[in-house]
């Protein structure tokens, strides 16, 4: 039963008596709670970095710039994202598949969660006691303590078990609903976890078979190029693991919020499958400027990298199409009249809408980075950092804010008040402003040559390096704005969780409906073995020869170093 009342902006805020079953509610809440705590810590670390790099503060000896940088990267890029994403996916899988998780999925979800939390704590501990100042990419032969690597391994393996929970739930639903097309949300969750498990298998191989034995002193030397290659096999897909849950929200949830329809049930599925195919066999675009890999393979992976433009264009078209139809249904006229009819006053829409706009710019920067030759002008400069702060930290995180503002009250069974909605919009504006300042300036100063991942330095007062410093101040201002937005978000999350008025009829968990005239998706889209097989095949084409080459012609290897 859904009853609708006029709500924020022009959007409808329906209430419903759907609520998660207690065990599901708890499982999802624990994911979100831990993720937000980690977000808080990670952003604080980021703030201090921006201030130190601008030369505005001096950090205590016990806590160095690179230690903070490691914490920032590990906490935000690896821990926050993974745990939030899994929590969100579980919520949608439960909601769209009979409103509840099957018992086996719950058990797997908890095992995965506990492993991820323990792993995160171990890795963070190693960073704090200064035994792992290796940044979140942990490039050998920088050597962290075994605690750090074991922590990361637990985090990754835990996420696989969570993934198994999603597969189990999906498999059970399909068995009970023979011949029906699966809910779009659940389909996408499965696709994301397949992508994630395939890619992270290889970073796990790096950590478990190369780094842990070497860190324990069981083997003397490590093959550096191989370890970097295994890392980046995973590293680019990681980016899509962050992005795709945001796409889920844009594709599946937002149409409901704007009062539109999902235009097609088949194309979004195809889009996600293409992302599985083209986000893995492409890691060399992060290694374009390093030796030991033949040019041909680098170029081939550049071509495969650019293929992600295809699903990206499909996404852009179908989102704009959904918005246009929704606007026209509300009586919009003319070519662009629908633009005015979108519910900008609704934080559930506003934050991700800003995210989409920023993402257009972010995506363009990505094309520069992956362009075989052009990369040399910006590789390892702050342009790169700017790029993923525009894509991950702006687009993805803003979308996660937009999700949280309704998902928390659904879970806490409290009211999403108009005041909280307004705060949500203000919070998104401050965050977006901070991120545009920070990442936009990083792009500019990166083009001027400022290196990424570097503590304050004037490079012997060289004029070029001195020219970068004013930009660092702007970045620090961005960092400060982001911290304010983060504190505001923490307050909102706390309020929606514990303080807002209780209610039996909570805000609706928005799930878009598919356009009536859309065709049923062809069966092949749901035959996972085909897509997993294709994904493996593409990886073999892109990686088999260069990796065999690396192993056959490996240099003597490197001893461990801890230069901090």
């Amino acid at each position: 039963m859904v009853n609708t009342k006029r709500g924020f902006g022009s959007s409808l805020v329906p209430l419903s008596d759907f609520s998660f079953e207690e065990p599901d509610r708890k499982l999802i809440l624990y994911h979100l709670g831990f993720a937000f705590f980690v977000l808080f810590l990670g952003i604080l670390a980021g703030l201090f970095q921006t201030l130190q790099r601008a030369g505005l503060i001096t950090l205590p000896v016990q806590l160095g710039y690179y230690q903070l940088l490691t914490a920032h990267g590990v906490l935000l890029a690896l821990v926050f994202t993974t745990i939030f994403i899994i929590g969100f996916l579980y919520s949608g899988v439960a909601k769209t598949m009979d409103g509840r998780l099957v018992p086996a999925a719950r058990v797997l979800g908890w095992i995965g969660y506990i492993m991820m939390v323990i792993g995160s704590i171990m890795a963070t501990y190693a960073i704090l006691v200064n035994e792992a100042t290796v940044l979140y990419t942990f490039y050998a032969p920088l050597k962290a303590s075994p605690t750090f690597y074991f922590g990361l391994a637990l985090l990754v393996v835990g996420s696989w078990i969570s993934g198994a929970g999603i597969f189990t739930n999906y498999g059970s639903w399909r068995k009970r609903n023979k011949g029906k097309e699966s809910p779009l949300f659940a389909f996408m969750a499965v696709a994301i976890m397949i992508l994630w498990i395939h890619a992270s298998l290889f970073v796990a191989i790096e950590v478990v078979f190369q780094l842990i034995p070497w860190s324990l002193g069981l083997v003397e030397r490590v093959d550096v190029t191989l370890s970097r290659t295994l890392f980046w096999y995973f590293g680019h897909a990681l980016v899509y693991f962050w992005l795709l849950p945001a796409y889920v929200y844009w594709y599946v949830n937002i149409p409901k919020i704007v009062g539109g329809k999902i235009l097609s049930s088949a194309l979004p599925r195809l889009t996600f499958l293409l992302f599985i195919l083209f986000s893995i066999p492409v890691g060399f675009h992060h290694q374009l400027n390093e030796p030991g890999i033949e040019s041909f393979w680098k170029y081939l992976q550049v071509v495969l990298t650019m293929a992600v433009i295809v699903p990206s264009l499909l996404t852009a078209f179908s989102l704009i199409g959904t918005f246009e139809l929704a606007g026209r249904e509300k009586g919009a006229k003319g070519l662009f009249g629908w633009v005015k009819k979108l519910p900008y006053g609704d934080a559930r829409f506003f934050a991700p809408f800003v995210a989409m706009v920023i993402f257009i710019v972010g995506g363009a920067g990505g094309v520069v980075l992956a362009s075989y030759q052009m990369n040399s002008t910006v590789h390892n400069t702050w342009f790169v950092t700017g790029h993923f702060h525009m894509t991950l930290a702006s687009s993805v995180v803003l979308t996660f804010f937009g999700i949280s503002i309704w998902l928390i009250p659904v879970l806490s069974k409290r009211k999403l008040t108009p005041f909280m909605n307004r705060l949500g919009i203000i919070q998104a504006i401050i965050w977006a402003a901070g991120m545009v300042l920070l990442s936009g300036t990083m792009h500019i100063v990166g083009l001027l040559g400022a290196p990424r991942r570097s503590s304050f330095s004037t490079y012997g007062d060289h004029e070029v390096a001195l020219g970068w410093i004013p930009y660092y101040y702007v970045i620090a201002v961005g960092g400060a704005l982001l911290t304010i937005a983060m504190l505001l978000f923490v307050y909102m999350a706390f309020h929606l969780m514990f303080i807002a008025p209780r209610t039996d009829r909570v805000i609706e968990y928005p799930i878009g409906e598919v356009y009536e005239k859309a065709q049923r998706p062809p069966k092949i889209l749901e035959r996972w073995s085909v897509w997993v097989g294709l994904s493996i095949l593409l990886s073999i084409i892109a990686y088999a020869v260069p990796i065999i080459d690396m192993i056959q012609h490996s240099p003597p290897g490197s001893l461990p170093y801890e230069p901090w």
């Binding site: 690179y66 940088l69 100042t133 940044l135 490039y139 032969p141 920088l142 550096v224 190029t225 970097r228 097609s264 088949a266 194309l267 290694q287 400027n289 390093e290 030796p291 030991g292 040019s295 170029y299 550049v302 071509v303 650019m306 433009i309 295809v310 264009l313 499909l314 078209f317 199409g321 075989y372 030759q373 990369n375 040399s376 002008t377 590789h379 390892n380 400069t381 001027l448 040559g449 290196p451 990424r452 991942r453 570097s454 503590s455 330095s457 490079y459 070029v464 390096a465 859309a518 065709q519 062809p522 012609h553 490996s554 240099p555 003597p556 290897g557 490197s558 170093y561 230069p563 901090w564």
Partner: protein, 163 residues
């Protein structure tokens, strides 16, 4: 699959320009030889490279009428040589490696952007078209002193022979 006509047009334009773009990159690479830094050459144990040629004698060597070779090692937290003098307009061939962790060799505002990986040699050729004192620095995190790793490339104008 149900794809509306406008979407089909949109996708065709998108994919078409993508293919043109990739062909241009390919021609630049394999037709004109413009590649990012590279090399499949390797070294002995990274920590002992300074007893074998060529890295036993890092420095700048003239190899042709207007051609130079820079043999360079990097290590925590410096380079050898730290100062490179070359004439304007000369072809400079860099050959560099690392003795310990991964370092970078980056000259801001140029395409000299090399990863120096222990066990491997990185090569790149570049011609400076502006005289002056160019900064080079390490752009791959290598430890607490990373931000101190730097040097200078002094590009002099041989016409203005006062030096």
């Amino acid at each position: 699959m149900d794809m509306p006509r406008y979407e089909r047009i949109w996708m065709n334009i998108g994919i078409g320009s993508l293919i043109i773009f990739l062909i241009i990159l390919g021609i630049l690479a394999f037709g004109m030889g413009i590649h990012p830094p590279d090399s499949l050459e390797q070294t002995a144990n990274p920590e002992t490279i300074d007893i074998y040629p060529p890295f036993d004698q890092p420095g700048v060597y003239q190899t042709g009428p207007n051609e130079y070779e820079v043999i360079m090692t990097s290590f925590i937290f410096s380079y050898e040589p730290r100062e490179i003098r070359v004439p304007l307009g000369a072809k400079i061939h860099f050959k560099a490696t690392s003795k310990d962790v991964v370092h970078g060799l980056y000259v801001p505002n140029t395409n000299i952007n090399l990863m120096l990986v222990p066990g491997h040699v990185t090569e790149y050729t570049y011609t400076f078209d502006e005289p002056g004192e160019h900064l080079f620095l390490c752009h791959e995190y290598c430890g607490t002193g990373h931000q101190l790793m730097q040097g200078r490339i002094i590009v002099y104008d041989p016409e203005n022979t006062s030096t």
